[in-house]
């Protein structure tokens, strides 16, 4: 393996080749348990030694006890770590990734490479110190969790990532030796300046909530005249500080790059993460602007990717495509995940979609009678179907624009309650994979809703036929041919 380190190539494995993760990875994974156990045992025995019936005994007993504990801990943890390392093996063949783990309960997992939805290279702080990284990939083979390889040397993780992605893309570099893979070069697209990250977190809805609570506390102190209230609120302030810290360090150094393997996101200050989303794996894109961010013209971009989940706190915001950015940045990242917007003037259309209100640029908003249900937002709730995607806009204070490519539509539904029935309105819902984006058009005119329901079902069916599920490494830029085909088809069909 040492000769591979000089050249960025990787050869896929045969059925008999197995590899092991880095020997110290169980320690990197389990260091917290080691520290906790040592602390508890150590403290208990020290207390026992110091707080015995005869008080502190300055003989050699405590030293012996500490040494015994240390020895036992080293042996126990050493054996378990060695076994866990010894029984973890992996293999990357041309079609599958195999990972075998477990000492007592053995687990063998196999992932189909052409089902790979996204690959992350994660480096927690301790792993970074040792130059190690975790490789994590989503396969969407029926809702199972991601497969993980922790930990590998960083170069090795990158090589594996390149190999898996190249196999999924169907790249063959040298027909004479098809097992050879070279890592694709990435081209930087944009980097979010650190100042803007900090400002975006400070001017977020979290700060607004914080400010409200702070004002309430201030009022309470002035009213009661007791400063002691502040002491009771220290845990709250600590939690707030931790929330700010987590959000700022998590999004710090956010960089977006494009490689032939897909869109690559780099971010994180202490724990760094490099996410790769191959072309065509983005199920939906959502652009959001809160009330305060409107002053700065900032937007946040989320994506639905199968396997990423809803982007809740434990997923660490993996669904974020751009934590904060102006309109040019938004258009730049949109162009990466969504190369063909299906219109000739994307900037104007997306601006109309992000700002509203009204029917500009082909958007259709709710009819006048919707004012009874939706007095503020009725002119903002709107939709537009381009030849490649459906754009839905909603929200008056906090604005949302969701974009779903037609070929990624899962299912559709129409809803109508009694009040909406009386007003001749209908809600349209589009179902995407599990994620933060749930596209919906509120309170459409009945006729428009029925038309959209029918047309969208037909458009999705056509788009699925034109975009077969195939490796994405094509001689021409992604999907141009396919979408041109769709365009001519739509023109021939005639509206």
């Amino acid at each position: 393996m040492s000769d591979l380190r000089q050249v960025p190539v990787f050869t896929t494995d045969g059925p008999a080749d197995w590899h092991r993760v880095h020997p110290i990875s169980p320690l990197v994974r389990g260091w917290l348990a080691v520290v906790a156990v040592m602390f508890i045992f150590g403290r208990n025995s020290l207390e026992g030694a110091f707080g015995g019936p005869h008080g502190f005994d300055p003989s050699r007993t405590p030293v012996m006890i500490i040494l015994a504990i240390l020895g036992a801990a080293v042996i126990v943890f050493g054996i378990s770590f060695f076994l866990s390392w010894r029984f973890t093996r992996y293999q990357v063949t041309d079609t599958h990734v195999h990972i075998n783990t477990g000492v007592i309960f053995r687990q063998q997992r196999r992932a189909n490479i052409d089902r790979v939805q996204a690959i992350d290279v994660v480096q927690p702080l301790l792993a970074r110190i040792f130059g190690l990284a975790e490789l994590k990939f989503e396969v969407a083979d029926g809702g199972k969790s991601a497969m993980k390889l922790s930990f590998l040397k960083l170069d090795e993780a990158k090589r594996l990532r390149a190999a898996i992605l190249a196999r999924a893309a169907g790249v063959v570099i040298d027909p004479a030796s098809p097992q050879l893979v070279v890592e694709a070069h990435e081209q930087p697209i944009l980097a979010v300046p650190p100042g803007r990250i900090v400002a975006s977190v400070l001017f977020s809805s979290m700060s607004a909530t914080f400010l409200f609570i702070l004002l309430g506390i201030l009022g309470l102190i002035l009213w009661t005249g007791q400063l002691g209230i502040v002491v009771g609120l220290i845990p709250f302030f600590l939690a707030m500080g931790a929330a700010y810290w987590r959000r700022i360090t998590g999004d710090m150094n956010f960089k977006v790059a494009l490689s032939p393997d897909g869109v690559r996101l780099h971010y994180g200050m202490l724990e760094t993460r490099a996410q790769t989303i191959p072309p065509g794996r983005v199920q939906a894109v959502g652009i959001h602007q809160g009330l305060i961010w409107r002053l700065f013209g900032w937007y946040r971009v989320h994506v639905n990717v199968a396997g990423y989940g809803t982007g809740g706190s434990e997923n660490g915001g993996r669904t974020v495509l751009l934590p904060v950015g102006g309109l040019p940045d938004v258009m730049a990242v949109l162009a990466l995940v969504f190369p063909d917007p299906g219109v000739d003037n994307p900037l104007e259309v997306f601006t109309a979609g992000l700002r509203g209100p009204g029917n500009r640029e082909g958007f259709t908003h709710s009819p006048r009678q919707a004012v009874w249900i939706d007095p503020l937002a009725w002119r903002y709730n709107a939709y537009r179907a381009t030849s490649t995607a459906l754009l839905t806009r909603r929200g008056f204070f906090s604005r949302y624009l969701d974009v779903v490519p037609h070929e990624r539509t899962q299912s559709l539904s129409l809803h109508q309650g009694p009040l909406m029935h009386a007003l001749g309105l209908v809600d349209f819902e589009l179902h995407s994979t599990l994620g933060p984006i749930k596209p919906v058009v509120h309170h459409m005119a009945l006729a428009a809703g029925l038309k959209l329901f029918d047309e969208q079902a037909a458009r999705a069916a056509t788009a699925r036929r034109i975009h077969p599920d195939r490796p994405w490494a094509l001689p021409q830029p992604l999907g141009d041919l396919a979408t041109d085909e769709l365009r001519t088809k739509e023109q021939n069909g005639g509206d």
């Binding site: 539509t409 299912s411 329901f453």
Partner: protein, 179 residues
């Protein structure tokens, strides 16, 4: 199988797509729902009537009489209302197989129409509970990669459910698209 499965659904709502003939589910689903709702209704009614019984038997004489009668009365009306709605609700459930997708509709006051493309189906569940088995009914649940797809059809006659499952899986395989 006594149910005429070929007659289109009589109920029609404003949001049904045009030129689609919805097929109804079995009328036996009304019986099944009556038994289910009736049993749970009796349970709640019995629960609500406990203070009344205690008062009438003199154990809890201080309990206000109007409240003792009002609570069971309200529960009784709610139960009867639920039961009265069942036949119309069941008759409003319909499905239609189109070339590319399956349509499912339901609801009288709160309408819903859903379209599930065959190529998007990940798997199809056919289930049969004890009550359903007695009546010869099955439920069919379509799953896509989206949690929003809540496509369940209750009260299909068992042979029709089996036919639909075969049909759906065959069409799904023919049209299967990647995520």
């Amino acid at each position: 199988m006594a149910e005429p499965m070929t007659t289109p659904l009589r109920h029609h709502s404003a949001i049904d797509p045009e030129n689609v003939k919805f097929l109804p589910v079995s009328g036996k689903l009304i019986t099944a729902r009556f038994i289910e709702s009736g049993a749970s209704g009796l349970f709640w009614l019995a629960l609500a009537a406990i203070p009344l019984i205690l008062r009438l038997t003199g154990v809890w004489a201080s309990y206000p009489g109007w409240l003792a009668w009002l609570v069971p009365a309200v529960v009784l009306i709610a139960v009867l209302w639920t039961l009265a709605l069942i036949p119309r609700q069941v008759r409003a459930i319909g499905y239609a197989e189109r070339d590319d997708d399956l349509l499912i509709r339901r609801g009288i006051l709160f309408h819903r129409v859903m379209v599930v493309p065959y190529g998007r189906m990940q798997y199809v569940d056919v289930t049969m509970g004890p009550l359903e088995r007695m009546l010869g009914l099955s439920s069919i649940h379509l799953h896509t990669a989206s949690p929003g797809t809540n496509a369940i059809l209750n009260g299909l006659p068992a042979p029709e459910a089996a036919r639909l499952r075969e049909q759906l899986t065959a069409r799904g395989e023919a049209k299967l698209a990647g995520l």
